[in-house]
Subunit: 347 residues, 2 copies
DNA sequence: CGCTAGCACTCAAGGGAAATGAGTGCTGAT
DNA sequence: ATCAGCACTCATTTCCCTTGAGTGCTAGCG
């Protein structure tokens, strides 16, 4: 698709005005407000062309134009240029993180809070993919007969736990031995490799004939099979969606919030973005499979530790949101979070 | 306030119809539908009386009557009789809990899910007051230099953790000693008494001169001071509020959801109910201090283990909700949760 | 040939008058 | 005491008209 400079300017103007006002924008406004020195009639011709290309759309004959999803996409991909976040804003966000503890969960929660506050939209933060974090510590606690609480801690301080039912009752003393054995065995390996390591170990001779070892391994196997899969997500600031006039219609709002309720979908959505790119991504509603979310957009970015992409964070808002503000915020926040997760060099 | 039998019947009819339809109810409907064999004119007279007493209210001259908060209160306290939940429903709720693990958090989350699903309103479940649960295990993990992850497990399997910054760096070996010492010291005492016990211990001679002990105690002191206070709450099904026509007005809805956003208020609210009574309580919006919540009602009940009231759960909905359904559900769910929390006798 | 001024046309949105109907209060009869 | 009947009130709905923003088209201009 080729657009002349002027065509692009007109499209840009339409998108910008539409994002600002939410109303269809007419030719007159554009010819007046924006620097193109042509009459409204000319703009109309251009707009008619853009409409033919499927970039604009007219709600009804006597209304102005609204960008289509295709138009928005084209604008975002080929026309708009997004700056880095201003240093003033950067400082503000940094400050918001200042007081927060270094507790992992707390940090993620804080992140979602900050994002939703600064972008005035709903924010999502995906938990790190467990498989990528490294083993630090495991502990088995006997809660009651045949019921064992398994606690897993990753090197970065992420705590996971899972309640396990076991066929026979095991004393706390023995469980302590399990812990000691496993803590040594699994030291510092990525959680994603635990299963493999355990399987390997199970076939070693010294283990095959040692009841304690093999039970410990069997238990670990089961726990990692069932227990620690759950990736989770923090969603915050859904109320902000109420700010947008497009969601004053309760039915629409309902559909969308319902989609949020089922977190697994959002998780999958964010998870997908992890495989695609390293930087900020924009996914427009109509590009998602979920038709409940057709009317919203997602701006997301992965966060990392070192070179591994751990998880993702993002902002969810109406298609008509302030990309020029939100994109830099998302970008910076992701960087900041990555920075905070960076392991300091041991002194 | 004294009401004749007939007056009560009329009030009841108004409340019931209003709850069902959400519209002001007129005299004609009442004289027809409900078993009182009097004409609408007579009903009108009765209604006029009830209005004078402040139990009913007329939005405008030619509209029917709506119960006032006072009227609703009177109805709930003195007129309505709530049955136990039907056994069919009971079985359904039991079933919903069937598959769930015995993991504490999972259980609470499940509870909020079940409540919101069965009552078709928003549900809240307050975490147990930590102070009332008993000590099971504490563990200190060195995450990085001068940063220690403290994990606390209560006897019922509730896991809490907190990231602690400590002035000097302590090796994992030493931390393990801390754990062993404290696990013995604090065995099985209620968490609310930990601080006292620690303080006591600090003054004992054998501790005063032992560096390890006193450091461990100091650390515990600090953790329990700052870390484990946070009571939390699960809120689920807020979307259900959108079902009620009274909240299709976005502004109202906004106010209410905003109040939800700040969980601490809701926590305080539920926490208060814990001190009042043992059974189901109904708090009507106007009775709360928070004027944001004037338009909603809360039906809550404590849950317990044995004889101690641990926490509370409840349903939040419009003032006009189906009390006759929800009250029994809340009551039963609280009982069921208490039952599930019951510690089985050790075999 | 590209641009523009001008004009007729379209259509959503706003506003006001009239119709509708649910519900009341009061009165006089039973 | 209770009720039938009637006049009255007032929110809600419906309809129609006006308004104004915006378009497409065409003829004329540089």
């Amino acid at each position: 698709m080729e657009l002349s400079e002027r065509d692009q300017k007109v499209l840009e103007a339409v998108v910008n005005d539409y994002i600002k006002t939410g109303e269809p924008v007419g030719s007159r406004v554009i010819s007046k407000r924006h620097g193109l020195n042509v009459s409204s009639a000319t703009i109309r011709n251009v707009m008619a062309d853009l409409e033919e290309m499927g970039l604009l759309y007219q709600p009804h004959t006597s209304a102005g134009r609204v960008p289509t999803e295709k138009g928005l996409r084209f604008y975002l991909d080929s026309i708009a240029e997004f700056k880095k976040l201003e240093s003033k804003e950067r400082a503000l966000i940094r400050r918001a993180f200042q007081e927060s503890t270094r507790d992992f969960k707390e940090l993620l929660r804080k992140t979602s809070h900050v994002l939703s506050k600064f972008c005035k939209q709903a924010a999502v933060v995906l938990w790190p993919r467990l498989a990528l974090t490294r083993f630090k510590h495991i502990e088995f606690i006997r809660i009651r007969v045949r019921q064992i609480l398994v606690i897993l801690i990753s090197r970065s301080g992420l705590v996971q736990h899972y309640t396990l039912h076991w066929d026979e009752d095991i004393s706390q003393d023995e469980l302590d031995k399990f812990s000691r054995y496993l803590n040594e065995l699994l030291e510092d390996i990525p959680l994603g490799e635990v299963k493999k390591r355990v399987l390997n170990e199970m076939h070693k001779e010294k283990v095959l004939f040692d009841e304690l070892y093999s039970r410990a391994l069997a238990m670990t196997q089961q726990v990692f099979q069932a227990g620690f899969e759950n990736s989770d997500i923090y969603i915050e600031g859904q109320i902000n969606l109420l700010n947008s006039p497009e969601f004053t219609d309760v039915q629409r709002l309902r559909r969308i919030l319902e989609a949020f309720e089922d977190k697994s979908r959002i998780i999958r959505l964010l998870d997908m973005t992890l495989n695609v790119s390293e930087g900020v991504q924009i996914i427009l509603g109509p590009e998602m499979e979920l038709k409940e979310l057709h009317e919203i957009g997602l701006i997301s970015s992965p966060y990392r530790r070192g070179d591994t992409l751990l998880g993702a964070l993002g902002v969810i808002g109406p298609l008509r949101m302030d990309y020029s503000k939100i994109i830099p915020v998302v970008e910076f926040t992701a960087d900041l979070l990555s920075e905070l997760l960076e392991e300091p060099v041991e002194e």
